[in-house]
Structure formats: C-alpha cells, structure tokens
Amino acid sequence: MQLQPATLTETGTAICALCIFLVPLAAAGLALVNTGFGRSRSAAHSILSATCVFATAALVYLAIGFSVQGYVGAPAHVLSAGGRQWSVLGAGRWMMRGLVFNGSSLSLVACLQLFSVGIAALIPLGSGADRWKLGPSCASAALLAGITYPVFAHWVWGGGFLAQLGPLASCGSGVLDAGGASVIHCVGGLTALAMVWILGPRHGKYEASGMAIPGHNIVMVGFGCALMMVGWLGLDAAGALLFAGAGVSSLPLIAANNVIASSASIITALIVTRVRYTKPDASICANGFVIGLVSISAACSVVSPVEAAAIGLVAGLMVPFSVEWLDRFGFDDPSGAISVFAVGGLWGVFAAGAFVQGRPGQWMAQTATIAALLGFVLPLTYCLNLLLNRFYPQRISKDLERQGLDMSELGAGAYPELTQVTKDYLYR
C-alpha cells in the first residue's frame, strides 16, 4: 500500500488557500508574545529579529528546505531494511524548481510550509530574548529551515519513514500530525531548549541577589495570543486538509476543538496558579492559552470536542509546573517556549495516539515520533547551533546585555520617550 498525496476539490482548494493566508497571523502573534515577554530595553530588537528570522527561514526553505523535505510520491532517498524501503530524505530540486504555483495540492503545501518554517524558527527567539544577537539568530534560523525542519518534516509530512509506519509496519495510519505539533512546534521548542543550553541565563537571573525578570508588556502578550488563535485556526485547518486526509466538512470540528482546547487549558492554568501562588499569574495563563492550541494541533481533526477539552486540560495542568521546574533547573526561558512548544507539542503527539479511535497501533507511530524528536531533532539542533556558536558567537557581551539589545545592536530603543541614556545602566 502506497501513501497518496492529498487531492482537493476546487472548493477545497479555495478554502485551503484562505486558511493558509491566515497562518502569518500566528507568526505575528508569536512575535508579539516574544517581544512582550522580553525586557523593554530589547523590544525593538526582538520585533526586528522576528521579522528577519521569518524572512531568513523562508528564503533558506525556498533554496534548500523544500527539496530536502520533498512530498508524498516525489523522488526520495530510501533505505532498505527488514525487506522494506524506508524513505529518509527528499530528493527534490533546489530552489523549488519545477514547482508550479497553480493551485495544486503541492503548491498549497509549499505555500503553507513557507509560513510554517517561519513559525518554527520564531519559537526559539523567545527563549533567547535579551541576549541573542541578531545576526546569529538569523544564522540559526537558516540551519533550522535548511536542515532540521525539512528532514523531520519529510519523515512526517513528506512520506518519510514515520508516515510509512502505517502501511509498512501496521502502526495505525502512520504518524498523525495534522497541524504540526511535532513538525512545527516540537522542532521549534526543542531548538529553544538547545539555545537556552548554549546561550545560558541572562545576567542577574540566577545570581545570589538575582530576581525574577518579568515580561515588560503583558498586554502585548495577550494581543499576541489572540492573533495566534486566528492563525492557528488556519494552520490546523490547512494542515488537516493537506496532511491528514480531512475534508472540508471537518473544518467546523477543527475550529471547535481549537477553541475548546485553548479554553480548557487557560482556565486550568488560571486555577493552578491561583491555588499555588494565591493569585492568577497572567504570563503563565497566556502560556496556558498557547499550549492548548499547540497540544490540540496533532489531533485537531480526529478527536471530539470533549476529548479536545481533556487534551487542553492536561496541557494547562502541565504548563505551570513545567515553567516552574525548568526555572528551578536553571533554564532561563523568558517566553516559556520550551514548556509551551516542546512539552505541549510532545503531549499533543502522544494525545493524538491515545485519543484517536479505530486505528490499532496508532500509539506506536506516535511514540516513534516522540522518540525521533528527542533522539534525533534535539541532538541535531543542539550540535548544529553549538557548531555555529564556535564560529559565530551567539550571545551578546555582559555590558551590552545590561545596556539592552536595542541600544547596543540597533542604536535606538522601542520606547524613546522612556529611555534614559546615561553612562551607567542598572539591572532592572
């Protein structure tokens, strides 16, 4: 049995294209969330970095990424093992040569991927806030868009070996990931983890006299979450149509599941923080909202709204503990991207296997995907960025960090009327 590429009717194509056009709102929301969680002295740098990283990712994906990712039914590098042929890498033409943007499923996939790879590249930016230089962050995004993302995306969405686990190894229908919980969010979240390891904490964060460094604009974070919600509807809907075999009739279910999962998640996070800290924590609640969207991404088109609520509830339960635990272990992650995207994405992939019905062995395919994320993506992205760091140091110096990335790298701040330029800069 061979994997088949998605076939859409004319109406399906139009609706899918509209959904794809919503996806940049998720990127915009993520950029706002990253900026809001950072310090005010690095806000302009953060939003500029987001734009540049998104652009770099799209260009590198155009040049190399799409050919490495490939697509179902396209030429690929295969490995023979156990008497079967396993597809491990796409073998397409560079620079998207030969691809005609004529509304075919393939052109829709390429268009969606140009946005998705940008979202994946934006995720680590929040974790490296206030200390990650602009040039190296773009170089890191290039590595993600040219190597890490497309290789893993081939395995899941390009007819690679994780997708083949269904027909070749009787594991359900192969990996189930409609909205990119593994391909986009986990890859971005695990890269965020690698960057936190490499960059280290912000100065002052874990000193004896150190203190919590709260985000500078929680309203910006909240508006970012709202934008992400709209973008997510498009991302999950387009992904389900193109990669999960869903029909246009399942779009209302996808939208309902997104709203329900994120609602259950934020309310759970609110209750947990209220109980633990006596008052609700706005930043963790915002993270709770986003982790709900992340965790439902994989199974958005196949679970019922009640199951979506359960997935969101567990995700909302996880985020406060994960944020607190990572902080206690010395992981300085200003935006909580590791907890939201890596932990939430892994839970989403697992939940898809646990909740989907009528696909025996599906949990095995989902477990194999989790193993691939932890055992391949994390070491690969860590080694690539560590190597990059050797040749192109990614972290700003202590003095410039104290000054803020706006003044040190851009020469102007985001809030000029609030900036006091003196010889001595103090920690907040």
């Binding site: 093992a81 194999a368 193993a371």
Partner: protein, 58 residues
C-alpha cells in the same frame, strides 16, 4: 555529561526505530519501544542534570 545524555537520547531513538524497521508486527515491539523510551528518559535526566548548576561565566 551533556554529551552522554545526548548520546543516550539518540541511542533510545535507534532502539525504537529498529523495533519498527527490523521486527515484524507480530514480534513484541512494545518491549523494544519501552526500552528505547526508558533510555531516552535517562538521557534527558543526564542532559538536564548537566545544566543544573547555572553560572555567570557566560
């Protein structure tokens, strides 16, 4: 210690993948998958433990 942890993460992935690629569906693949995931959990523990002491030396 971090390198050892990352190696264990990869080793766990190799065990899980081997179970699917080399064994037939009738074989006890679940056992191999559990072993692979356990190896990865140990790898994660090692990598996190290696990061545990934050320093200002960056």
């Amino acid at each position: 210690m971090k390198a050892a942890g990352l190696f264990l993460l990869f080793a766990g992935f190799a065990i899980v993948t081997s179970a699917f690629v080399l064994l037939s569906p009738a074989a006890p693949r679940g056992l191999f998958v559990a072993a692979g995931i356990a190896t990865q959990i140990l790898g994660l523990f090692l990598t996190f433990r290696a990061h545990y002491t934050p320093s200002e030396g960056h």
